[in-house]
């Protein structure tokens, strides 16, 4: 099965010609953001804020005890065939900031190459980095390659979430087929410490019904926290997850803590993500975009 889809992605001139004919290069949407945070005398400063194409960046003024927050926006309103987002964020030494997205990302049907989201995060010594994008909604026939590379120095705190929803159930949408490669790797002090790939191919609707695979779930998330204090957060996270409405479990090992969530729909998933984040954000409120 894994080989079958690799073949579909391999250089097939017929497929590529078809794709190029279907969606002219000029109509494909590309977006890139390259953002850096640094700490100047205890205040957060934006160093670099490169934006191009359909990706835009806003930095609302924080209120109360909110973390300083940058919000990414995809002005194209989603990703279709051939679309690509490149997101690069750097947290310099001792900086502390959250990055989120203004809305759920939508990935539409694709015919050949599919859509790509590449994320590269770098966290320097002493920094606290939170990568909390809202969920990605997959539509029937989508082909998404998502790759997150997270590079941590020593003595950092990192918190990341990746959430996926199969169709908008409230709109009566279902995902029958598609192809998803969702990769996440984390390095700490040059050593690979986390490597996970969600590979969902072909008849996704049938796969998600199987007992060991989806168990009937339509929404899923993984939260990963990396810090020296990761193991100390395990019991509080588990206590909080007693209130989860979907399936939830947490584990801690090697200076990592991960939470896995499965839910029948997006609302349940968001509730459970917020439940876990309430502990992992150590009492600070979620970014405002998560609350409205």
């Amino acid at each position: 099965m894994h080989r079958a889809i690799d073949t579909a992605y391999s250089d097939s001139p017929a497929w590529l010609r078809k794709a190029q004919a279907a969606v002219p290069h000029s109509l494909r949407s590309k977006g890139a953001v390259d953002l850096s945070f640094h700490n100047r005398d205890g205040r957060l400063r934006i160093g670099r804020a490169y934006q191009s194409g359909c990706l835009r960046l806003r930095v609302p003024r924080p209120s109360g005890n909110e973390a300083p927050c940058a919000v990414l926006m995809n002005t194209a309103g989603g990703l279709a065939e051939g679309d690509r987002l490149d997101q690069r964020v750097t947290w310099d030494e001792d900086s502390f900031a959250t990055v989120t997205t203004q809305a759920a990302e939508k990935v539409y049907r694709a015919v050949a190459q599919g859509s790509t989201i590449a994320t590269h995060l770098e966290v320097a010594r002493g920094a606290r980095a939170e990568w909390l994008p809202q969920e990605t909604i997959l539509f029937d026939g989508c082909q998404l390659q998502r790759e997150a590379q997270i590079v941590l120095a020593e003595n950092v705190t990192f918190l990341g979430v990746e959430a996926l929803v199969l169709g908008r159930q409230a709109m009566g949408e279902t995902v029958r087929r598609g192809s998803l490669r969702d990769r996440m790797r984390i390095w700490r002090s040059g050593k690979l410490i986390y490597a996970d790939t969600l590979a969902l191919d072909g008849d996704i609707a049938a796969l998600m019904q199987r007992a060991a695979i989806g168990g009937g779930a339509m929404a899923m998330a993984v939260l990963v926290h990396a810090s020296d204090g990761a193991s100390g957060l395990l019991e509080p996270v588990r206590d909080a997850l007693q209130q989860a409405r979907g399936k939830a479990a947490a584990s801690s090992w090697n200076g990592l803590l991960a939470v896995r969530l499965l839910a029948p729909d997006c609302d349940t998933l968001r509730h459970d993500i917020a439940t876990a984040l309430a502990v992992l954000c150590e009492g600070r409120p979620l970014p405002r975009v998560w609350r409205c």
Binding site: R185, D196, L198, A199, R210, A211, A217, S251
Partner: protein
Amino acid sequence: MGITITTRTIIATPQAKSMAETDLFDLMSWMSPAWPIGAFAHSSGLEWAVEEGHVTNRETTLEWIVAALENGAIHNDLVIFVHAWRAADAGDTAALLDVAELAVAAQTGYERQLESCAQGAAFRRIAISAAGVSRFSCYLESLTDENLTYPVASAVLFACRGIPLRMGLTAWLHGAVSNLVSAAQRLVPLGQTDGQTVLRELRGPILAAVENAHGLPEGDPFAAMGGCTLVADLGCMAHETQYTRLFRT
């Protein structure tokens, strides 16, 4: 020229036969439940699946194991095994250490890592003492026990011993899957006949997985990894807090 070929054939045949038999003998020793790596203590989250009612009989046991094999942790173990075998066979220590690091990082939970590294470390200890393969230990000496997974330790031994990849993969998978069947017999519980029937029914999927793994391209092993056993992955974490546990994982 014809004479040369004939001569080679005459010399090679008895040697090849005895090689195949000694290979088989060693593989059976190393993949036997009596080879002391503590496999009996691990269920890869199957204990949770039984507790939750996902696995209740022969059919659901088979389905759960097939999912792990084709879409889950065992698929990733096979990718690691193939790349570790090739690196050791080529004497490429740097590539081997990269595979070993990826293998640990791919254990996405405490019990997953415990299961793979406890067996990897135990496998190394007994193999150094009892396998009689001289080159084996030097490849892995820079890895501590927490950094040595079971598929890496076994693939390196097989490569150092000259076991062909396809045969090694088949034996390794038979061992891994038999251990799950054995756990299911105790947990579900399944009768002896049902357990062996499940194992027989797994033969087709196992041989297909071996073919797939054997044909994996060279290059970054991470590119070939991936799975979607979301419930099983969550269950391996949930098992940590399960009230009644017979198994470590």
